[in-house]
């Protein structure tokens, strides 16, 4: 028992990136344990998914043709049965929104400890997981003193596996108890449409909770106008209703890759970073020199935005409203 079983993810007909990232993570862990990497793909067009997933590093791909889209009751049952069949030491699942919706249940059902949101591992006899705490201000090492573990991996943290694979593709017959399926997915809805597309902008002035009050939004509006830039924001600004949903950058908002991303009063939470780390030049204005955004920024000002932003507006010949 030294194998790793990793479960992939797809949505509306396409595999998600994390499915290839989990191969990289899984291979690393399987090598450290001296075992094989098993991959599972559940639901949808499993045959063509298996073709796509047959990349370097995968030993076996298990296809399970149950359902079209993700349903946590189905996934939980299937993974439990596959786990019994493959008998791995580590079950790797994505720490995606759907991962959050079944990984903890699987761990409980298997009676195996779970560690979530891993950004790295080590294994020399004992599994060691690196994960962050306190809104990414610190990292921790977590040890799992057990023969088996469920670990979820942070999306976009591991490189996507590539290259021609030579995995053995096997179909797995799961026995899904329909009476235990107590939730039904009835559809999908796209949100955040509208007239502005922040992903098209060359320059984004992006505002976060550091702005404190709705009335202060006009300060960053004035900056955006002065610079001919587009205004975007982190999630709390949209949650509070200060800007519309189509301005939100991040995991549940838009992915942006402007030439310049000006992060003003934004801490740089992982779900925010997921949406802007591809920006060419990142500038952070944040009073906290330890805010995680500083690890990503090319340029930073560790000062009060209420002093810096008005001065910047004036530098460009504009007039500050505050």
């Amino acid at each position: 028992m030294t194998d790793v079983l990793a479960v992939t993810e797809h949505r509306r007909g396409s595999l998600r990136d994390v499915s290839f990232e989990i191969v990289t993570a899984g291979r690393k862990l399987a090598d450290a344990q001296g075992g094989d990497l098993h991959l599972a793909v559940i639901g949808g067009d499993v045959e063509s998914f298996a073709d796509e997933l047959n990349v370097e590093g995968v030993d076996t791909i298990h296809t399970v043709a149950d359902g079209e889209e993700f349903n946590h009751d189905v996934y939980t049952q299937v993974v439990e049965q596959l786990y019994a069949d493959v008998a791995p030491t580590t079950l790797l699942l994505p720490n995606s929104v759907n991962g959050l919706d079944y990984a903890p249940a699987v761990a409980e059902r298997l009676d195996v400890p779970i560690v979530t949101d891993a950004v790295g591992f080590d294994h020399d006899g004992t599994l060691e997981v690196t994960r962050e705490m306190y809104a990414s201000k610190v990292a921790t090492t977590v040890e799992v003193d057990a023969d088996e573990a469920v670990v979820t991996i942070r999306p976009s943290e591991f490189a996507k596996a590539e290259g021609e694979g030579s995995a053995d593709v096997q179909s797995f017959d799961a026995d899904v108890d329909e009476s235990a399926v107590r939730s039904t997915v009835t559809g999908f809805e796209e949100v955040g449409g509208g007239d502005v597309d922040i992903s098209e902008a060359d320059v984004l002035v992006s505002v976060g909770r550091g702005i404190e009050e709705e009335e202060n939004i006009e300060l960053v509006e004035a900056l955006a106008e002065t610079l001919g830039a587009t205004l975007s924001s982190s999630r709390p600004i949209v949650d509070a209703g200060w800007l519309p949903k189509n301005r939100q950058v991040g995991q549940s908002g838009k992915v942006v890759t402007p030439k310049v991303y000006l992060a003003i009063g934004i801490s740089g939470a992982v779900q925010h970073v997921a949406g802007m780390k591809g920006s060419e030049t990142i500038v952070a204005i944040n009073t906290d020199p330890n805010a995680p955004i500083n690890d990503l920024a090319d340029y930073a000002i560790h000062d009060d935005l209420f002093d810096v932003v008005p001065a910047l507006i004036e530098e460009f010949g504009g007039e500050s409203p505050l």
């Binding site: 761990a107 201000k137 030439k259 330890n290 504009g318």
Partner: protein, 264 residues
Amino acid sequence: MKILVTVKEVAEAEDDFEIDGLDIDERYLEYDLNEWDDYAVEEAVTIAEDGDDVEVVSVTIGPERAEETVRMALAKGVDRAIRVWDDDLESADMLDVGTKADILAAVVEEEDPDLVFSGVQANDDGFGATGVALAEVVDMEWGAVVNDLDLDAEGGVAHVHRELEGGVEELTDIELPAVLTIQTGINEPRYASLRGIRQAQRKPLDVQGLGDLGLDASVLESAVSRTAMFEPESESDVTVFEGGAEEEAGQLADLLRDKGVVEG
């Protein structure tokens, strides 16, 4: 109908902090109600206000210090609160997901709620897992990352939106009883009113030990332990502009002009 809301008092690190062993030094931590739980409380209280005969109970596993946070939830409209704590919990190193789920499960069994709301994640340890693990332990249905809820209590179903990545929401019908993990933005959490704060002082806040819940210290045994905490290595070599706001804005302006940004 009864709604149980799990609430956690989370610690937030101050701008400058020091690590002391396996945790941030207490002196640099500030405590507050977890942001996600604030939305969960609001959702429950709104349902109670709109319905007949809905009781909202909150539960926290936490030390006496957490009572301030619990009182805040009571002030916002929670009817009564349970705080689980005792000497065994006090001396436990770290509560992992399985442990928290087992303890909360004992409370669910005692209270027998129709709905349980928890937050998507606790902003300090950020497991993002306790709610769904709890659902499995108590054999309830569940839904994670819920940002819209239309409750049909009579029909025994919750119509929810689950917020997926990239601006896509999944529409799901979930059979009751269920645990829903609540996402921020689902509502607008209220501020506690002065009247609410006064009333909160008189609302029941019941402290229970593991023994009261039919558990013992064995529930705290866990294979998962934290063995190190450190400041992450910075991957970028960031250029920091210094010298006061005027000077810094000047340097930033030069940079922006250099990148082709001009007066709009």
